[in-house]
Symmetry: C2
Subunit: 392 residues, 2 copies
């Protein structure tokens, strides 16, 4: 199922509404997730400067490297006449920068004639570099450049029925990926051979549902490194007795449903088994607290109550908003399930509720990707919330 033209128009109107509320005369969108959300553009071109220019009522204009701009219509609905290619000669030069060209074209498009003009930019987004920002600021002195503070990301927080359906579809891929991973984990096998099966499952999906690439490669921390969450694999063989912490994802049309699980290769130690029980109890408490009208922090508080009772603590948040993802992160950078986040949950919000416990030299990770329903919670995957023990 694709996204209907009317839904794209609705998304753009919501963005414009927030632009008015926050006093922005124009917005420059650089986050590839937000580009995909607003114009459907989908290519691995984000390592070079590219941006979408949005004003209160003008046409949307996309500015990108020539090599990529000429094929923008392969994925985006934006008409060719609103795609502006900058010359290939500007790629990776010490003496000039694509954002100088982009600034000049924005000037031709009338950016300095806007009232104000105050221009919102995604200043904490990875693919707008300081050099690009400074080049734009220098070339457009009439404009006040301000942080748009994840404006489009916040619009993305509540998913439409079509998006929720994409998430459910991605969840089916996730189940396939995690099941494949657990089946593949065997003492003596090289870690990289296990990951080969995982990545194949991620790309292929199921016979009915094609997979897509996740924003984060398979994370697989083993043995003493299992206390470190963001490690990738090595070519070392898996060792009987060690713990494997997996954080994986199924993706369909850029919608992400992540899942973390822990596998013990052999009988788990008492600490690990006990942790699995506590974390299982904790995640159930957190899931039970999710419904429209409660705050993000109250979900974390339900988890914390369980941890307190067992004399444990976790410094990091227990979840964050998810949906569309591009490398290097599948989080939406808006809502976090943690103390102090008083965002009120609404129907259609979607989260990765992840309760990893990172101890000294070992760890236990467990997660659920969920949607907030009219009266509670919907799980996008249906896998047992347990420490899997593989004796073989």
């Amino acid at each position: 199922m694709g996204i209907a033209p009317q839904e794209y128009r609705d998304r753009i109107e919501k963005v414009r509404g927030r632009m008015v509320e926050t006093g922005l005369d124009a917005l420059l969108v650089t986050d590839p997730c937000n580009l995909y959300y607003l114009i459907g553009y989908n290519a691995w071109s984000f390592y070079m400067p590219q941006c979408l220019y949005i004003t209160a009522d003008g046409e949307l204009e996309f500015l990108a490297r020539e090599m990529d701009a000429l094929g923008a219509g392969d994925t985006s609905w934006l008409p060719d006449e609103h795609v502006h290619p900058y010359p290939e000669a500007l790629v990776h030069r010490p003496d000039s920068h694509p954002y100088e060209w982009i600034a000049a074209r924005l000037r031709e498009l009338g950016i300095t004639d806007l009232p104000g003009p105050t221009i919102g930019m995604e200043l904490d987004e990875d693919f707008l570099t300081p050099r690009g920002y400074l080049a734009l600021a220098s070339a457009l002195p009439e404009c006040t450049l301000v942080d748009s503070h994840e404006l489009v990301n916040w619009v993305r927080a509540v998913k439409s029925p079509a998006e929720l359906e994409l998430m459910r579809t991605a969840g089916t891929v996730t189940e396939h990926v995690v099941t494949t991973a657990i089946d593949a984990l065997t003492s003596g096998r090289r870690q990289c051979d296990v990951v080969a099966e995982i990545q194949a499952a991620q790309a292929a999906g199921t016979p009915q549902i094609g997979g897509d690439y996740p924003a984060i490669v398979p994370l697989m921390a083993t043995g003493k490194s299992a206390g470190t969450p963001h490690l990738t694999w090595s070519d070392k063989p898996l060792v009987h007795g060690e713990t494997v912490v997996l954080e994986l994802c199924g993706v369909h049309r850029r919608y992400h449903v992540p899942c973390a699980r822990t596998v013990s290769l052999g009988t788990p130690g008492r600490d690990l088994a006990r942790m699995a029980d506590v974390v299982g109890e904790g995640i159930e408490a957190a899931l039970g607290a999710v419904r429209p009208g409660v705050t993000a922090e109250s979900v974390e508080a339900a988890w914390r109550t369980v941890l307190d009772r067992h004399g444990l603590a976790k410094a990091s948040r227990i979840g964050y908003s998810i949906g569309i993802g591009y490398p290097p992160d599948w989080g939406e950078h808006t809502i976090s399930l943690r103390p102090g986040d008083q965002t009120v949950l609404a129907e259609g919000m979607t989260f990765h509720l992840i309760v990893g416990m990172w101890m000294d030299g070992w760890g236990y990770d467990l997660s659920e990707a969920i949607g907030v329903t009219a009266d509670g919670v919907e799980r996008f995957t249906h896998l047992p919330q347990i420490l899997t023990v593989k004796e073989a």
Copy 2:
């Protein structure tokens, strides 16, 4: 083979030498490639602020998110006492930023007591955001923050014998990956099923050599989209008669050897077959021009001479420096093979020589990953430089 402690010391001394030459009192390294190059740190943590602080003669200091800093020693040789974790509560907040904490810690480490101090930062690097840069600038008004202009990347340009050996090893993985891909391409198969085999080959490598994740996922442009270089796959079936343009990579311990090839599913049209001949002649001319002492632009000129003779032109560069890679790009962002780049080639430099011709609705891509030897060129893969025709 790993990197010897002495080689890390040599790398750091070269960086310090360039810092002196360019008047930097300190350098803040944020590019994950450069972190790996200097301290061996290797984790998917670069989506959160992290940086390495280098002064002329002090200890190296690494500042990172708590969740990641505590396990830095799993991959880096840097002693724990020089790793500084910032609190988890600072992740993705509207009201504060990790770089405020980083600035305060750098102040404790004496950054403002340095003579000058002029601080180099990687201002065109993806994982330093404008917001992070502005937070640092605001918190350290005594410091002059300047662009280090890929200082560490330039040190990386000439590879050591150990690095060249890693590239050769990665090349073996690349051959396996490309061979797997060409074998897997069959009319009627879903694109995502072909990519599943490609990604499995990338992760597993060979029985002797473990694979690693590439900085860019498999790029596979098909049919009318074959004129657009940076498209990823879909779940559509491959169609007899269409062209598939592949840009793939083998990776070993973060060292990248990319390879582009084009496959025709059925007898190719005359334009495509003719283009394959011209491009094959052109890449041979370019490869023949590579040796120490010549300029980067002279390699492109050798290619251009062939294109001119056939009445063709290519706007984009025909190659760039390669080595260590992390998403979103495996290029080193230093040397480009194109008019105007007068970098003199030296023994030990390594390039991805890629001569894709992106036409309107079709394309032909071909590449070689190469090293500059004492008297010419070394290829890291040994695959036929042809348009592969698959009749089945």
